[in-house]
Symmetry: C2
Amino acid sequence: VIPGQGLPVAVDAMGGDHGPEVIVAGAVSASRAGIPVVLVGDESRVKAALPRGVTLPVVHAPEVVGMGEAAVAAVRRKPDSSLRRAVDLVQRGEASAAVSCGNSGAVVVAAVLGLGVLDQVERPAIAAVLPRSDGGQLVLLDAGANVDCRPEQLACFAILGAAYARLLGVPDPRVGLLANGEEATKGNQQSRATLPLLQALPLRVVGNTEPHAALAGACDVLVCDGFVGNVLVKGVEAAAETVVTLLRDEIKRNPSARFGAWLTSRAFGRFRQRVAWQAYGGGLLLGTRGVVVVGHGRANAEAVHAAVKIAHQAASQGLVPGLVERLAAQR
Amino acid sequence: VIPGQGLPVAVDAMGGDHGPEVIVAGAVSASRAGIPVVLVGDESRVKAALPRGVTLPVVHAPEVVGMGEAAVAAVRRKPDSSLRRAVDLVQRGEASAAVSCGNSGAVVVAAVLGLGVLDQVERPAIAAVLPRSDGGQLVLLDAGANVDCRPEQLACFAILGAAYARLLGVPDPRVGLLANGEEATKGNQQSRATLPLLQALPLRVVGNTEPHAALAGACDVLVCDGFVGNVLVKGVEAAAETVVTLLRDEIKRNPSARFGAWLTSRAFGRFRQRVAWQAYGGGLLLGTRGVVVVGHGRANAEAVHAAVKIAHQAASQGLVPGLVERLAAQR
């Protein structure tokens, strides 16, 4: 029996750039798809955001952690915030996982303080899953939990990332270290100090890996610090959006191309589902004693739905016991 | 009179992953487009790579700096390398600029040693120009010359990048600092120490800037260290390629979509010209006393042509005197 099965995903309804309406819409969409959810936030605002005729459980939380607030101070000062209360539900075993699209630094702090970290883990990392051009998936971490990392922390991220890739169905994940070239001489001070630590782990380490190689399938797990990782994930998403925007602009200019675009629209649709850049709702926090998904602040309802789905799947697959097992095996 | 006008661009014919054939093909293509070039490399191999009936000037260089060689040692040890000889032609005033798709670390070292750096510049930076979704251009630097940077170096990159953006036609360039969030509290140790230095410069500084904001038009110049910048540029290129590949795969599966794709092919073509990810042949080195373009090692002939064009335009526009003037004005 996996703990948390059947429990709802606690959704911080107040986090995110676009207010509770978007978050609630995403949660409703996830609920319609069969995922139990509980909304956490200002009860009157959350209920007002629910579509007519739809009822979802709401846990009242009178405070909100703002997007620009200093993470540690805000989390400590606001025990009644929607973020803290959502994490508390996981800690008390009343929710399988928590999702917040709020201040990402605060989400990580709330998860660490509220749930604690696993043995052998100093700091958790955010794992982002990106589509590769070979059809596989790339687990990139840290996607933003830790902006400054020591090499020992990066080595721990490799273990967490490989364990998560196994849960995603990759039997012997190849682990790459993000670098500006594939030769062992490449990299910065941090990555050059990290490479030998990775190579000493009982993992399949493929060494320094460039972003294009990783996105083409050279590895299943890509390790980097949270500053570089965050910037890379956001850059990759933005580039994909830019290409799609520019291509649509071109097609709109030309009437016969517009007809062609109509004919290719099914292909476009499947392509969007397959790539689903904006559907990658957020990153899964790895290393805490409970499942937490750090959603994009910019998340739309589709992205919120995707974040809830990631959280639900991770809890259902037994992410935390799975990580405990792998960490014990690496000792 | 701008020095270098009418002079050829010296092309290191031996650098790059794909051997002299690809480099020579790109140089021939640039020459056909009206850009004078001189090829530098092993004379017999370079001449053998020239298409039948095509003659281009060749400067013999018997040595080659390999892709995996340690940069400083290799450049010092090989005065007769194609790279060193190409830079020498610029230094002696016999070429307007040098282009190499070889070992990028070695290209930077050869440029610094062979040409020297401008006053007030400690280390040059590689500037990459990326297309933005608003139709503008983003000058990103450093795209890979310096993997570890002090905040003072990043501030110098801001001055160089803004000066280059002016040469590209932006009258009062907005300068952003790459970060994982736009609030002043975001960033890592390095970027948080850099932000006040940028804000003290007589430049239009827009503060911390995320990749998607920069690619959407929030700034004209994006400053970061060469490790992050290199990874980001490669990630952005790879994401664009991945999206195009996956979209083509989808279209190929469906016969009516294939007909649609044929109708939209002109739009695809214009889009490729406009975005031209692979046509962004390489980065322009800013801060040396001479024009050098650091091409992609993976460059195909089209990218080599683009790199030669970037070099020729920078020399024709008076990049070096322009930078000297702007650096003097910032004092």
